[in-house]
Amino acid sequence: MPLILVGGLVFGFGLAYSQMARPEVVLDFLQFEDFGLVFVMFGGAAVTGVTFFLAPRLLGRAPLTGDTFERRLKSFDRSVLVGGAIFGVGWGLSGICPGAAYASLGIGNVTILWALAGMFIGAYLQGYWRTRSETRETAATGAD
């Protein structure tokens, strides 16, 4: 837990330092007025890329959990495109994504609570719909 807090601290400090915690800066990027944000994602991905490549080869298991080091691989299906598009509409409209929203609160941006409220409502809605459709599918299979 302490190391997760440290990781979060560095992560949040980095988001604030990169200005990504400010929706205006993200919107400037999306409107092609300042391309600097490309370096935030590439910078972040470069660091994780090297680590995710080397850790499984040089280290055995994670010291705290004993878990093996794995890459973040998720199965591809239509929901990646559908969800990505919905997220894109939200990101383009608000200029804020989840991690940056938490960091934005940290830099004193209380107005961002609007976005955080929206995110929780959105996450709840999709959970509500998906739980319901799962239940219906199970019921349908059971009836066969």
């Binding site: 960091a103 940290g106 941006n109 609007w114």
Partner: protein
Amino acid sequence: MVIEALPLQVTAELFPNGISRYAVGGLLVGLGTVVVYLSTGISAGASTFLESTLSYVSDRSRFQQYVSSRDWRVVFTLGIILGAAVYAVVYQGGAWTTDVQPWRLLLGGLFVGIGTRVGKGCTSGHGVCGVGSASKTSIIGVLTFLAVAIITAQLISALGVSP
């Protein structure tokens, strides 16, 4: 002389605020992810926190799958808030608030909440961890939300909505 100055001028137009703060910030974001990964083996993402935290207050099966990770996700998020607060105190000299209109934040946030969870990740999960893992799913995910976000932001701007 003119030819020599051209690349600099183009750079200044593309990056009016320079690139160092973005690059340094990005490296720190990566470093924070690495601290979590090296100690626990977990690829941390920010948007799962939304659902894992809902498991405290909702019994829906969709959220209950995150019960085992919800505590450390709260700690990680508190860390993000505190880390950003340290930046605000040291470099910013106080609080900063956005001028983007509340309805954009609320409605946009709603779409972000649905989209990141349906699409299996956000800018940190897909963007930093997934791309760092050279995951095809994540690269396609990033290209999708980036393209749609650019189109959306340009449209909103063209409609005269600002900020």
